[in-house]
Amino acid sequence: MSFLHAFTRNRGAVLGLIILALVALMAATASVVFPFSPWDMQGAPFAHPGEEGFLLGSDSLGRDVAAGIAHGAYVSLLIGAVSTLVGLAIGVSLGAIAGYAGGLMDDAIMRVTEIFQTVPSFILAVVLVAIFRPSLASIVAAIAIVSWPPVTRVVRAEFLTLRNREFVQAAEVLGRSRFAIIVHEILPNALSPIIVLASLMVASAVLLESALSFLGLGDPNLMSWGFMIGSGRSVIRLAWWMSVFPGLAIFLTVLALNLVGDGLADALNPRLSRRR
C-alpha cells in the first residue's frame, strides 16, 4: 500500500519504529530478564555500571538500574498509552460533537476547551495529582485531562471542514444517521491528524509523567523512568548513571514516538509526501 511505502521510505520513522519496538520488547520481557522486583535491593549501593553484576549500576539502596529501566519501560508506556487513549476519547468525542453539531453546542464545548487551555496545564496536572493523591490512576487522569483540549481543537477543525465536504453532504442526502455520518464518513477521514497527534501525545505524556515524578508526585509503587530520574537527580554527581540511563531511555522513547509521529504525518498527508 502507498501508505506503507511512504512510511518506510522515511528513514527516521523506521528508526523510530525500531526503537519503539525494542522498548516494547523490553517492557514485555522485563520480568523474564529481571525476574525480581525492581524495588528489591540486590547488592551494594552506588555500584558503577558493570560492577558487581549491575549492567547499568545500582542506586542508593543497591537496586538494579537496568532492572528499573526494563520494568519502567512498561510503566512509562502504559501511562503514556492509557492517558493518551483517555485523552483521545474525551478529545475526539467533544471535538466531533462540536465540529459536527456547530452552533450553541460548538460554542459551549469550545468555551470549556478554552478554559482548560487557559489554565497552565502543568500546574493543573500538579494540582490534580496532588488532590487525588499520586497513583497510577490519578496520574493517568491528570495527564488525560490536560491533554485533551488540543485533540478537541484538531478534531473539531477537521470536522468543520469535512462536514461541508461533498461526500458528507452526499451521505446526508442519502439519509444516513448522524451517528453513521460522524463515525463512518467523517471520522475515518479525520483519522490521520488524530493518529499523528496520538503518537505525539504519548510522547508528551511520558515527559509529563517524568516531570510529575521530578516534583515527587509519581506513584510510589511503580518503577517509572520519571521516578528514577527524580531519585537520581539529587545524587547526580555521586552516581551519574542513576539519572543518565533513565534520562536516555525517556529521550529515546520520546524521540522514537516523535519520529514515528512525523513519519505518520508525512505518510498520511498526501500533499506533503508528494512534495518531497
Partner: protein
C-alpha cells in the same frame, strides 16, 4: 526573428511517473503583436512549456534537451541573476488562480510597486496609472486594499497590472480566466486583447477552452500528452482541424444553440409539478443582511430537466442544497408532490431521501476516500434498510449502468479518473431509485472531452429511468445542451426562466443577455 522561440524542448519527469517526459520535442514560436494560444487538457504539458520559459519549473523537472530563444538568445544558459532580470522585465506572467496568486498580507499597491522596485524602475505614480490602465475603478482606493477585499476579476486585473508594469515584450497567461465567471472572463479577455494590440506585445495564452481560443487567438498550438499535435492559424484550426485530438476538443465544446428536444413523453411540462418552490429565502448567519437566496420560486414537472444557471455567488447551489435540507431556508415552501419539505425534521425527511437524490460538483470530494466504491454506492439503500448483500449486488449493476467495470466495486475512489468518479457519484444517487435528481455542477470540474461524455450519460439515464432533473451550472453552453427549461439566477434572485431555446433566442433580462454575450467564441462560432 521571432520574439520567443522554443525549439525541440524536452522536459523529463521524475522516475516513476506515468510517462518519461512532461513534454517532449516541443517547438513553437511567438512573434510580436500576436496572441498564441496553447490548447490542451490537463496533463498535456502546456503549463510545463511556459514554466520552462520563465525558469519556474519545479525542482523535480529537468530540461534534457532543446533551446528557448528570447530575441535570439538561449535563456537556458542564463545565470540565476539574468533569469531574474528577465522575469517581469522582458516576460510578464499571469496565472490561473487569482485568489492565491497574490500575497494575502500585502497591499495591492505594494505588490504592484514591488516589481518596479526589484528591477530598479522608478515607482512614482505608476501604480495608480497601471491600475487604471487595467480598468480598475477607484485605483486610489484599490491600491490601499488587500487582495481578499477584491473580487476574482479585480485580482486578475491586478495581476495583469503587475505583469505589464515594466512593459515587457511578452506576456504569458496561464489559463488566466478559467477560475473566473463568464462575464468576468469575457471582460478580462477583452482587456488582454486590447492591451496586446495597443502595445504590440506577444502573448502566450494557455487555455483548455476552444471557445476562449476562438475569442482571442491569432495562432494556435494544440498539445496532447506532452507533444504538439497541431499548430496553425486560428481560423484554419477551428474550421479545418487535421488532428483527431483537435477535432475531439472542438467537438466537445458545447454549442450555444440548444438542440431541439422532444417533450418528455406523456408528461407535459405544463402538468402538475413534481417540485415547486415558492418564495424560498435563505440568509446565512453573519454575512450582513443580504440573503443568499431571495424569494426564489420555480416549478419542475415530471420528466423535465430544469437548468438553474448563474455565476458564482448567485445562490444557485444554496437553493439546490435547500431542496435537500443541507441548508434550511428561513421562509418559503418547498413542495414535493403534496408535501412541504421545509418544516420537516431530520427524521421526517428520511422517507424523501429515497425520492430526491443529488449529484455533486467535485468528483474528488464527493466520494469518501476511505471507503470502497461498492460500499459508497450501497450505503444509501443500506441506510434505508436494504440488506447489505442485496445492495452490493445492485451496486454492481449500477456500475454497469454508468458504464464502469463491475470490478470497480472493490476499489477506492482515488484509483479512478475524474470522469469515472463522477459516474460513481451518479450511480450512488441512482441506487436510491429517485424520482428527482439534483445535479449540482456535475461537469464543471472535468475536462471538456469528459464533460461531454458525462452529459451524454446523464441525458441517457434521464430518458431510460424517467428521471426529473434539476441541473445546476454556471455554463450556459452546458445548460443549452441538456435542459428543457432554464432559470437564470443572479445575486440570490431568479431573474428569468423559460424554455431553453426561448431564453437563448430572446433573453428578456439584461443579465441573461450579458451572460449570453459573454460565452466565449459565441459570436465567432455563429459567424
Amino acid at each position: 526573428m521571432s520574439l520567443l522561440r522554443i525549439e525541440n524542448l524536452t522536459v523529463a519527469l521524475p522516475q516513476g511517473a506515468e510517462r518519461p517526459h512532461a513534454i517532449s520535442d516541443v517547438s513553437m514560436s511567438l512573434d510580436a503583436g500576436e496572441i498564441l494560444c496553447i490548447v490542451g487538457e490537463s496533463g498535456s504539458g502546456k503549463s510545463v512549456s511556459v514554466a520552462a520559459t520563465m525558469g519556474l519549473l519545479p525542482a523535480a523537472l529537468k530540461i534534457t534537451q532543446g533551446r528557448i530563444l528570447l530575441d535570439g538568445t538561449d535563456i537556458l544558459g542564463f545565470s540565476p541573476a539574468q533569469m531574474r532580470d528577465m522575469r517581469g522585465k522582458r516576460i510578464g506572467m499571469i496565472f490561473q488562480e487569482p485568489m492565491t496568486a497574490l500575497n494575502p498580507l500585502m497591499r495591492v499597491r505594494d505588490q504592484v510597486a514591488e516589481i518596479m522596485q526589484v528591477h530598479g524602475a522608478p515607482v512614482g505614480n505608476r501604480v495608480l496609472e497601471l491600475l487604471e490602465a487595467v480598468g480598475l475603478p477607484n485605483p486610489a482606493t484599490l491600491a490601499r486594499a488587500y487582495p481578499h477585499q477584491l473580487s476574482g476579476g479585480q485580482r486578475q486585473r491586478v495581476m495583469i497590472a503587475i505583469a505589464l508594469a515594466l512593459e515587457p515584450a511578452i506576456l504569458i497567461a496561464d489559463e488566466p480566466t478559467t477560475a473566473l465567471d463568464v462575464t468576468t472572463q469575457m471582460q478580462v479577455l477583452h482587456l488582454i486583447r486590447n492591451i496586446q494590440q495597443r502595445r504590440g506585445m506577444g502573448v502566450l495564452f494557455i487555455t483548455h477552452d476552444f471557445g476562449v481560443v476562438a475569442e482571442i487567438a491569432d495562432r494556435v498550438v494544440v498539445m496532447q500528452q506532452g507533444a504538439v499535435v497541431e499548430s496553425g492559424h486560428v481560423t484554419e484550426i477551428l474550421q479545418n482541424p487535421q488532428h483527431p485530438y483537435t477535432l475531439k476538443l472542438i467537438a466537445a465544446v458545447p454549442h450555444t444553440t440548444p438542440p431541439p428536444r422532444p417533450a418528455p413523453p406523456g408528461h407535459p411540462i405544463t402538468g402538475r409539478p413534481i417540485l415547486e418552490l415558492v418564495g424560498v429565502t435563505k440568509t446565512y448567519r453573519g454575512r450582513g443582511a443580504v440573503p443568499a437566496v431571495h424569494q426564489a420560486s420555480l416549478r419542475i414537472g415530471r420528466g423535465e430537466t430544469l437548468g438553474l444557471v448563474g455565476e458564482s455567488g448567485s445562490g444557485k447551489s444554496t437553493l439546490a442544497r435547500a431542496i435537500v435540507r443541507l441548508v434550511i431556508p428561513e421562509s418559503g415552501a418547498i413542495r414535493f408532490h403534496d408535501t412541504d419539505l421545509r418544516p420537516l425534521s431530520r427524521g421526517q425527511w428520511k422517507p424523501f431521501r429515497k425520492r430526491i437524490q443529488m449529484v455533486f460538483q467535485d468528483p474528488a470530494a464527493s466520494l469518501n476516500p476511505r471507503r470502497r466504491v461498492g460500499d459508497i454506492i450501497a450505503e444509501g439503500p443500506v441506510a434505508h434498510g436494504e440488506p447489505r448483500h442485496k445492495a452490493r449486488a445492485r451496486a454492481i449493476e449500477l456500475l454497469r449502468l454508468v458504464q464502469l467495470d463491475p470490478g470497480a466495486a472493490d476499489r477506492f475512489p482515488h484509483e479512478f479518473s475524474g470522469g469515472q468518479r463522477q459516474r460513481i457519484g451518479i450511480a450512488r444517487a441512482l441506487a436510491m431509485e429517485p424520482e428527482l435528481l439534483i445535479a449540482d455542477e456535475p461537469v464543471s470540474a472535468l475536462d471538456v472531452s469528459v464533460q461531454a461524455q458525462i452529459l451524454e450519460l446523464l441525458e441517457d439515464l434521464r430518458v431510460r429511468l424517467n428521471l426529473t432533473m434539476l441541473f445546476i451550472t454556471h455554463d450556459l453552453r452546458v445548460a443549452a445542451q441538456i435542459c428543457d427549461r432554464v432559470a437564470v439566477m443572479r445575486r440570490g434572485i431568479i431573474v428569468e426562466q423559460g424554455p431553453t431555446a426561448e431564453v437563448f433566442a430572446n433573453p428578456t433580462h439584461d443579465y441573461t443577455r450579458a451572460l449570453l454575450d459573454s460565452i466565449p467564441g459565441r459570436r465567432k462560432n455563429q459567424t
